[in-house]
């Protein structure tokens, strides 16, 4: 990385912030969608089962993890749309740091995710959900959630460059639903058939959700999952971050 890696990445982050300022609607939709999902599950499904309060305490941390994982598609879409446009050629013909385009993208997406997380936690509070852990445990939980998002984001960037076209992102947009739901975000694996429960417990998202439940206090939390919620995303990052940066450097060669 060159001496300009940081300033170039910041320039690219500012580009995304300028996009938000130009088209705030897109940002707002991205932030409102998880809130809608949370309300829908809390009232339609939790309410239907007559266990609103109890289910809510299980659901909110799960939704936080699910939202971080679903960020994958937004990142993918943004990257494929960028790649389709000529502006990427301009960036690649400039003497800027390798990967600054991607790092700027990831920083902007992390900002958006942090904002989305804050909103979702606020809505959870409004629904009556409470954090029982200490401030340090709360910050730890937020850190794990953002780490999961950061790992998903680099998977998204890499997949976007492999897929190349926005049309192919649709396939991923559909696939994230079963993958997201095949976790313990919305329902406990104890209620599932044995093989499914095992698969669900191995889902990296489940590790994060369980660890967050443990740190924040509430049903579904199990001690000892924090290390898994750190190792899984770091492992994914170790694979997909270098893949994505290398793929970007070699675009169309």
């Amino acid at each position: 990385m060159s001496a300009y890696a940081l300033t170039d990445s910041w320039t690219m982050t500012r580009r995304e912030l300028a996009h938000w300022a130009r088209q705030p609607g897109r940002l707002v939709v991205g932030l409102v969608f998880p809130v809608m999902l949370l309300l829908m599950f809390a009232y339609l499904i939790g309410g239907g089962r007559g266990v609103t309060g109890q289910y809510r305490d299980y659901l909110v941390p799960g939704m936080l993890a699910l939202t971080m994982a679903f960020g994958l598609e937004g990142t993918m879409l943004a990257v494929t749309q960028d790649l389709e446009k000529g502006v990427i050629d301009r960036f690649r013909s400039l003497p800027m740091a390798n990967g600054a385009v991607l790092v700027g993208r990831s920083a902007a997406d992390m900002l958006q995710s942090a904002l989305g997380l804050a909103i979702l936690i606020g809505v959870g509070y409004a629904l009556g959900w409470r954090v029982h852990g200490s401030p340090a445990e709360f910050l730890g939980a937020v850190g794990l959630l953002l780490l999961l998002r950061f790992a998903m984001l680099w998977i998204g960037i890499h997949l976007a460059m492999v897929a190349g076209k926005p049309e192919l992102v649709q396939a991923v947009q559909i696939l994230v639903w079963p993958v997201g739901f095949l976790s313990n975000a919305l329902a406990t694996p104890k209620s599932m058939p044995g093989w499914l429960g095992t698969a669900v417990e191995w889902n990296p998202m489940s590790q994060t959700a369980t660890a967050v439940r443990d740190l924040l206090g509430g049903p579904g939390g199990e001690p000892g999952h924090v290390w898994a919620a750190v190792v899984w995303p770091l492992g994914l990052l170790a694979v997909f971050f270098p893949l994505a940066v290398r793929r970007f450097a070699r675009l169309s060669s």
């Binding site: 060159s2 300009y4 300033t7 170039d8 320039t11 500012r14 580009r15 300028a18 996009h19 130009r22 088209q23 446009k85 000529g86 502006v87 990427i88 050629d89 301009r90 960036f91 690649r92 013909s93 400039l94 003497p95 800027m96 600054a100 675009l251 169309s252 060669s253």
Partner: protein
């Protein structure tokens, strides 16, 4: 050549079994405009993408502004500007935001980038549109902003890939004027085009490219001379007499081109004056009425036709 801004030697690039560049070579002297002329699919865009470090060549020695495009890509990037076929701009941002962003990525520093953006907007007549998103720009405005973006750091070498394709005559004139003013400032320009007129108007030297190789190269005049001397044009009063007139010309029939819509015959000549008086006399004696007779140099179109073959030009048109 010691004073070469661009040196390409034996450049090869293969796409899916097809050679986009097949041992292409050319040299461009500093401060000149070099035209790369060829039909669609000749390898022009591949060449520009390799020269501007967007694409790695499979083989060949390629230097731009004294630096190797593969091993010293960043040094090359510091010294070039690129105007590709499609606008390389952020469509959602305004013109000023675009130029400032590129200025910062050229590491001009925030203040200098801002000043430079203002200068360029002014120079390309976009000062009033600086805040509007590029999405709302006309084709000509977009092209001018794209060119401004390529000039943010005063490049030593500027690449223009079909810079006027898709522009109306006014937009084309604007781009031509901008290119001419740049060359006065010492910039080396490599320009690809399908328009012979554009190469004729702007380029000091021209490389004619076909199937990934240079098939001819020289000044416009040298290329015209290669096709063989002057031509005589005869416009008849009556298109029905075109056939009779062809038989009268002292030239093999295959070398005469006939345009019935314009009632025009065109044929190469060797001895200008003898040909002129001979044709006038022959037409008079046969009672074929001519509206106009003129001697002229061949156009680049005819050179191109001659070099790449009739069929290929028709396909490109």
């Amino acid at each position: 050549m010691a004073d070469a801004a661009i040196t390409v030697d034996g450049a090869r690039k293969k796409y899916g079994g097809k050679h986009a560049l097949d041992g292409l070579g050319l040299t461009v002297a500093r401060g000149t405009v070099h035209g790369v002329l060829g039909p669609n699919g000749a390898g022009k865009t591949t060449l520009v993408r390799i020269l501007s470090t967007l694409l790695r060549p499979d083989a060949g020695r390629i230097e731009v502004a004294g630096h190797d495009v593969v091993t010293e890509a960043r040094a090359v990037r510091l010294r070039i500007g690129l105007l590709g076929q499609h606008a390389a701009l952020d469509e959602e941002l305004g013109g000023r935001q675009n130029l400032e962003m590129f200025g910062r990525l050229y590491h001009l520093g925030a203040r200098h980038a801002r000043v430079r953006a203002g200068e360029l907007l002014e120079r390309f007549g976009l000062a009033d549109a600086g805040r509007k998103p590029v999405r709302a720009y006309s084709g000509g405005m977009r092209r001018r902003l794209d060119l401004a973006a390529a000039l943010v750091r005063d490049p030593e070498v500027l690449f223009l890939d079909e810079p006027t394709t898709g522009l109306d005559p006014r937009g084309r004139a604007e781009v031509w004027a901008a290119v001419r003013s740049l060359v006065g400032g010492g910039t080396t320009v490599l320009l690809t085009t399908q328009y012979l007129e554009e190469a004729d108007q702007l380029a000091d030297r021209i490389s004619v490219v076909d199937a990934g190789r240079v098939i001819a190269d020289g000044t416009a005049d040298e290329l015209k001379a290669q096709t063989g001397g002057d031509r005589i044009d005869v416009v008849l009063r009556d298109a029905g007499q075109l056939g009779a007139a062809v038989a009268l010309l002292p030239v093999p029939k295959a070398e005469i081109s006939v345009d019935p819509d314009r009632r025009l015959l065109s044929a190469p000549v060797t001895d200008r004056m003898a040909a002129l008086s001979g044709v006038v006399r022959a037409l008079e004696e046969a009672g074929v009425e001519a509206e106009d007779i003129a001697l002229r140099r061949p156009t680049l179109d005819e050179v191109f036709l001659h070099l790449t073959g009739d069929q290929r030009v028709k396909e490109a048109a």
